[in-house]
Amino acid sequence: MKGKWTGIVSLILLFFIVGCSSSTSGSGGEPDFPTKDIEFVAPASPGGGWDGTARAMQKIMSDEGVIEQNINVVNKPGGSGEVGWQYLRNQDAHSMAINSSLVITNNLLGQSDLTYEDFTPLGILTTEWISVAVSPDSEYEKGSEVMKQLKKDPKSLTIGLAPGLGNNDHLSFVQAAKEYGVDVPKLEFQIYKSGADVVTALLGGHIDVATMSVSEAKEQHKAGEINMIAVSSEERIDGLDEVPTWQEQGVDMVFPHWRGIMGPPDMTEEEIAYWDEKISQMIETDAWQTVLENNEWQSFYKDSEESRQYLEKQTQNYEELISEAGLTD
């Protein structure tokens, strides 16, 4: 009887192994890549960060001769990236899409069934940082003072953000608050359509605190219209040297707003290697440096393998951040 069972078990195992090996062996071929035009999917309308990244890559890769094939940028706006990424899923290795942490949070917040595991991460390119700003005539001059007040009474301040809950601006603020020990569920957030509206609301006194990306707030801060009191970066940002990081203020948190690039599922190792080579070539160019400077982006380069690991880690972090109130004490 014993022998019979081992026989059955090993038979099942055999089927399993055969099944696995046949599924992996299928993705061999395609000696020369690429064989046709390249397509960059920007899962948003023209003008945003995703579109900007895609167009900058297109321009540099073509102009600098990194890739000889034609490169086209297609815009697939909708569903916080969902439309573009769903489109990418059914393309071949000649298509790729710009992504960001939304590829993780959309799923965690029940907006999408897709996760980064449905794609092939090819690289992380840039990051922006997220700032907290108050009105110049606010009684708070540091991020930690805001948090102190919120800890005392979470409902005492209204926080403005755009364009919706669950984005990085929101998450970054929540994480800082959580680190500081604020009762997060009680926080009062006010949602606006755009970053400009948030600034207007802050100026008009409708909100007490705003959380937005550094690039959105920098101009007004420089003009003295608003006061940036914390950034989510590790170190102070060039050109904004007077703004302290959260870490400096005793809030142990770094929160990048990264953008990367990913391909359709089931890419071969050759195809992945091809993109690793081309992207690393691209980020070395002067033109790319100029793009970073112009857009207030920082280089945040990670190759395909590092990206995959990073996305895995980020998913864990986000899950933790989103699921746990962190006020168990």
Binding site: L108, L109, G110, Q111, P163, G164, L165, G166, H170, L171, V174, V184, P185, K186, L187, F189, Q190, I191, Y192, I322, S323, E324, A325
Partner: protein, 534 residues
């Protein structure tokens, strides 16, 4: 222990196995189905709870009610959620406002209670839609959570739609129970079928248990292979169902002929006749492969129905050879008795002559006898160097003398000692039989004369026996060598004489020539000096 467990009756064994198999299969299938069904039910509950929570959260009246928060709106929310509960079989639908105050609850006394946003955190803070398993409300349950959002996108409240795990398991248990009834029915059918099957098999095996059949089969095989008789069994159509080793050697069958018609291989055995008449044939003599075989054919009758036949064989040649050897020995003793008798007669004559005082005559007779014996014997001893041949000839001389036959050894005869492969049996059979035949042949003649001559010059040893009998018919010549033929008294069953001679000559690779006319017959036997096969 296991051995003992396995030594049960066929019925128990089959029933046990079938029931065991069915039960194992049912348990296996049931657990697999239950596993999938459980997953399915849970996944359904998750989808439905989340879907319902979303649907409720999208209803404008809900967000309005959450913004207004007066008694009317609370009552309308309660009514709304109760309606949804019934529609979706949900155990509870709970709406909390932004502060965590419960606005709707299946048990109204809990309305206005505060429930911290712990498991509702993701919805309350981030506006997430998700499933969660938690004990937040009423007990452990699968919940779908959805935020109620304002037009701007701020969270106004959280909808939780839940299914209690206990109730889900009850649902699964009911499902399994129904399947178990069916399974029980299947087991019952299996038991009946296996009992029927066991009965059927036992009918086919004459009520014998398999191990008994195996024992019988082993016994039969060892019995059949241990006997010298050939045994062949056939079915009713004459196909061979069994043949033992002795039968194969006897009939010189090397290839496998089981399942072939017996007529194809041994046409001499008339099985069809036996089967047709369903009557035994006993002690039938057959001549197959140069062997005389005694055949017994018996039909196999089972419950007055013919199912086949059994043929048993004995090699009659073997028996005959034994008998013949015996008869040779018997002849020698008779020959010796004849010699003794002859000698006694002569002694009486001499003693008579001595009593009568005819000493001269007595002396004369003794001297004549002495010379006679010396002559004939010395001739034999001089010419014939082989002691076997000498012994036979001396014996025959006495017999001839008794029968008043003039038996001479040709003066030109010469033979050295015979090669070792020619044994006394061979010589006795050839010379003894031929001389005896010649004696019988001339017994009716007035002048009885038989001459024996032998020569071993050249490749062959030649024996020649000539009589002055009346000769043989041509017909008899060809028949002469066949078994059972004899021109002599057929009642006495001595016809195997020539047949045996023939067989021995064949065995020694020799040949026999018979020349016959009305003044006598000569048998010439040629035996090669070298044994055959060399």
């Amino acid at each position: 222990m296991i051995q003992k467990l396995l030594r049960v009756s066929l019925k128990t064994k089959i029933t046990g196995m079938v029931v065991g198999l069915i039960v194992t299969l049912i348990v296996l299938l049931l657990s697999i189905f239950t596993y999938f069904e459980t997953n399915q039910i849970f996944s359904n509950k998750k989808t439905i709870s989340l879907q319902t929570a979303k649907t409720i959260s999208y209803i404008p009246a809900v967000s309005e009610a959450l913004q207004e928060e007066d008694n009317d709106s609370a009552a309308s929310l309660q009514a709304l959620t109760e309606k949804f509960s019934i529609q979706n079989d949900a155990d509870f639908i709970i709406i909390q406002n932004r502060s965590g105050i419960i606005l709707t609850h299946p048990s109204t006394e809990r309305v206005r209670e505060y429930q911290e946003f712990d498991d509702g955190y993701r919805a309350a803070v981030f506006g997430g839609y998700y499933n969660i398993v938690s004990k937040e409300f009423l007990g452990k349950s699968v919940m779908g959570k959805a935020p109620v959002l304002s037009e701007d996108g701020e969270v106004l409240g959280v909808v939780s739609v839940g299914y209690l795990i206990d109730n889900i398991y009850k649902e699964i248990f009911d499902w399994v129970k129904n399947i178990l009834y069916i399974a029980l029915a299947v087991v019952l059918v299996g038991v009946c079928a296996s009992i029927f099957l066991a009965r059927h098999i036992r009918n086919e095996t004459l009520g014998l248990e398999p191990r008994e059949i195996a024992a019988l089969y082993r016994d039969r095989n060892s019995v059949l292979s241990s006997i010298n008789e050939g045994v062949i069994a056939t079915d009713e159509s004459g196909r061979i169902t069994m043949i033992n080793h002795s039968a194969k050697t006897l009939l010189n069958l090397s290839h496998d002929i089981v399942n072939r018609p017996i007529q194809e291989n041994i046409p001499e055995v008339n099985v069809t006749n036996t089967i047709k008449k369903s009557k035994s044939q006993l002690n039938e003599e057959l001549y197959i492969n140069n062997k005389v075989i005694i055949l017994n054919l018996t039909p196999i009758i089972e419950e007055e129905k013919l199912v086949g036949a059994v043929a048993t064989f004995k090699d009659k040649t073997e028996i005959k050879e034994m008998i013949n050897t015996l008869s040779e020995v018997k002849k020698y003793s008779e020959d010796l008795r004849a010699q003794t008798h002859e000698f006694a007669n002569k002694m009486y004559v001499i003693s008579g002559l001595l009593q009568l005082g005819s000493y001269e005559e007595a002396l004369e007779m003794v001297q004549k006898e002495a010379i006679d014996i010396k002559n004939s014997n010395s001739l034999i001893f001089e010419l014939i160097k082989d002691t076997k041949v000498q012994a036979i000839l001396l014996g025959k001389m006495s017999k001839a003398s008794e029968k008043k036959i003039n038996f001479n050894v040709d003066e030109n005869s010469h033979i050295e000692e015979l090669p070792s492969h020619i044994e006394v049996y061979h010589v006795a059979t050839i010379i003894g039989n031929l001389i005896d035949n010649a004696f019988e042949e001339v017994i009716n003649q007035t002048e009885r004369r038989v001459t024996f001559s032998t020569l071993d010059i050249g490749q062959d040893i030649i024996f020649e026996i000539t009589d002055n009998g009346s000769g043989m018919e041509k017909f008899t010549l060809t028949q002469a060598a066949k078994a059972g033929y004899s021109t002599k008294n057929p009642e006495k069953e001595r016809g195997f004489g020539l047949f045996n001679v023939n067989e021995v000559i064949d065995e020694l690779n020799g040949s026999i020539e018979i020349t016959s006319n009305n003044s006598g017959t000569t048998f010439s036997v040629f035996i090669p000096k070298e044994p055959r096969g060399k």
